[in-house]
Symmetry: C2
Subunit: 459 residues, 2 copies
């Protein structure tokens, strides 16, 4: 649904609401899918939200509820009668209920839990126990399980019985009496086999599973790598405790990408969308790095004050000083190009620490070529546009700047590519360690090089 | 498979190869899944690649082949007999064949096409016609279709017949005699219905489909939004021409994220993984922005040379000059924090142009608070650590710097948040337009503010 259609539909709904024309509104709502509907409901005036929600058919209502943001969910829950709440909660998958509970204030949580049956409450409590970033925290306990002695026909009737309240039915897990994971069989495989085939003859036994306490990002990246629809999650004894479905994995990947991008821009990640994030939270997420990087730029300033003789020299001091922004920017850009490329490759598991010499050798060659071209371009620009040849020592000044560019670009690329690799090796976050710091480190080095080259060549 | 296990398996394979112990090697290979195997094969010495590949069972061979990089694929194809090539190609899904063809030199393409049957060749040629970044280019023409007059029982026998060579069977498309898309029904829905139910009674008619010429990123983001397993692709007359499966959508999302991250780091995106990208290609992807940004930093330099009087003043010139790196860095960081946040929100469709005033108002408040705190911190640092109070006019100099910080952070946030929104409105790429330029613009402005504040307060 594009922006234009979206606005039109909202307007139509608001008009029908104003005229209390619920007869026309209901079929209109039923035509919209849950994801778009959740978005539309959020954009409606708060007081009409419960009215519109009650017009939805039962299935659409619970699907839409899951997709809404937590503020709207809370609003709705407070407007629900106990009976309505019970109906919605019973319709939700357990992992979605847990996601909702995590965002709600304590009194709402208590009310929700009081409306769930004992079995569901037990499952919810199990899921709530896993650490926030673990595979256990994003898995669901509702999956289709089979026994290896079953025939395909028995398997199908089992699936038919179990399917109603399962998020995905297409991957079935074969377990023994101790719930140990023995195999996996897809519905496609079942469809391709005769009814008399035994499950143990067609099940895949070479299973990739993850542990409840594994990092959820590792789990999500496996989806991307192996193209799975669902992935089994096992405990220490290899007992199947749940599955992760691909939609939850996609959510994790999107969140992790957003986090990495934030970190590269020297921002602490927040877990809410931008428009939903308060001013104070934004300040807190941006302040630490700004402050730290401002203070660390002091060292760069020190290089300038310690080289007063060169940079304040009456004949060429101001020419050199005028080049400082260009040198700092070029060094910083060259460094982040390398570091961001390596950070991304690490995140996608395309580069590992053992590749460090391959990476360094590649970057050395790239740096030499780039540094050389930039130095030539800079020399031409200084001599032609800045007309430096009319100045005494003009060629020497241009040489100082160009040599600095060449050396800065080279060093920036070396540091830029190796810093994330070392961070990863030390089990630190490559995006946090390298991206914001690279500019500061390269600024400092570029000015040190600049002043020393100037002293050496200009005396 | 983690790094350590990976290295161990490779070593074991190399040893078995050296001893020509193929009896032991074959079962070992059969235990590994296709994705890991493709990685392992790439790491083996080139000459052993065809030997190992021929040991694989038929299904595993074609699954592994798809997952390999194009260099290894080309090597293998050149080692295949015509019969072997035909077997592999027949086993591949059409969209995978097209992906492979796009990476191969012309003579290999001709050889592959000569081994495909007429029908497949026609489908391949159809797919090759779509523009590179369109939905048509990533779709597959192999999907399960049903008629609305069928019963569930008939549907299942249809699926059983069609399933063998279809990438996904879980979403079935209901079409009329003109191949117009009439509905969608999931295998889960079929499993939950009785055998006598008619498809038209259970199919979903409110279908989200995409057009062959739609941007593939739009298509992929819809997967993420609506949690689909597959999405129908229709032509101008709403005739079903193919489907996009979730694994291809995940690939697109990963590529688009990598592209956005590259652009934010002033690098032109390349379509190959870092380690596979040649030095010359890396130079080409990094040179344009480095050069452009280096040249544009000239304007920042001009501000310095034009304010020689202030910055070269004997009493406080060097103190002011020493603050330039800190001012430039802080401004640049503050600007990219805002721009990167908005760029990401735009990519995820969380922010739209109509939100510009909400965004500006949010950023104004954030900027004022951040600017104020940073200015205070900077004042304290200048007075205490730099002992500026011993210098004549020390308080005035510190005030110049702090006022500049406050103004720079405020302006940087304003520009940072609005530039991507305007870029999007003008149908330009927000990541390209705003990220690399923001530093240059903010550098220039921060120095202009600095010099003007200095002239105003210090005379």
């Amino acid at each position: 649904m594009n922006d234009f259609v979206f606005e039109q539909v909202i307007q139509q709904i608001v008009e029908l609401l104003e005229n209390k024309n619920y007869h026309k509104l209901k079929p209109l709502l039923d035509e919209i899918n849950a994801t778009d509907l959740a978005q539309i409901l959020t954009d409606l005036p708060e007081e009409s939200l419960p009215i519109v929600f009650r017009l939805l058919s039962k299935d659409l209502a619970s699907e839409t509820f899951v997709e809404m943001d937590s503020d709207s969910q809370e609003l709705l829950i407070r407007s629900f009668s106990d009976k309505e709440l019970k109906e919605i909660i019973n319709d939700l998958f357990v992992d979605d209920t847990v996601d909702i509970l995590e965002e709600m204030p304590a009194n709402v949580v208590r009310r929700i839990l009081s409306q769930t049956d004992a079995q569901t409450r037990k499952e919810i409590n199990e899921l709530l126990k896993y650490p926030e970033d673990s595979a256990g925290a994003i898995m669901t306990t509702e999956y289709v399980w089979l026994k290896k002695s079953m025939t395909v026909e028995e398997a199908f009737s089992s699936i038919r019985k179990l399917a109603v309240d399962k998020e995905t039915v297409y991957t079935c897990y074969v377990i023994d009496t101790g719930r140990h994971l023995e195999g996996v069989v897809s519905v496609k495989q079942l469809l391709l086999s005769s009814y008399q085939t035994r499950i143990e003859d067609i099940m895949e036994t070479n299973i990739i599973s993850i542990h409840t306490l594994d990092d959820k990002e590792t789990a999500a990246r496996s989806f991307d790598k192996y193209n799975y629809l669902a992935m089994p999650v096992v405990d220490k004894e290899n007992r199947l405790v749940g599955i992760i479905t691909f939609d939850d994995a996609m959510d994790v990947i999107r969140e992790e990408n957003t986090e990495d991008i934030s970190k590269m821009a020297a921002t602490l990640p927040t877990d809410t969308p931008y428009l939903k994030t308060g001013v104070f939270k934004l300040v807190l997420s941006r302040m630490p790095w700004l402050l730290l990087l401002m203070i660390s730029a002091t060292f760069t300033g020190l290089v300038i004050s310690n080289n007063e003789d060169v940079l304040n020299a009456s004949t060429y001091g101001i020419i050199l000083t005028a080049c400082i922004p260009m040198l700092m920017d070029t060094g910083g850009n060259a460094g982040s190009q390398a570091s961001v490329t390596v950070i991304r490759s690490l995140a996608l598991d395309e580069v590992r620490f053992k590749d460090i010499f391959v990476v360094l050798w590649k970057e050395i060659r790239v740096a030499v070529i780039l540094g050389f071209i930039l130095a030539i371009a800079c020399f031409a620009k200084l001599m032609l546009i800045d007309r430096l040849y009319q100045v005494e020592n003009g060629y020497m000044i241009a040489s100082v700047v160009c040599l600095t560019i060449f050396l800065t670009v080279s060093i920036a690329k070396m540091i830029g590519c190796s810093l994330p690799l070392f961070a990863k090796k030390l089990k630190l976050d490559p995006a946090v360690v390298s991206s914001p710091f690279i500019t500061t480190i390269v600024d400092l080095l570029s000015l040190l090089i600049f002043c020393n080259v100037a002293i050496a060549l200009l005396g």
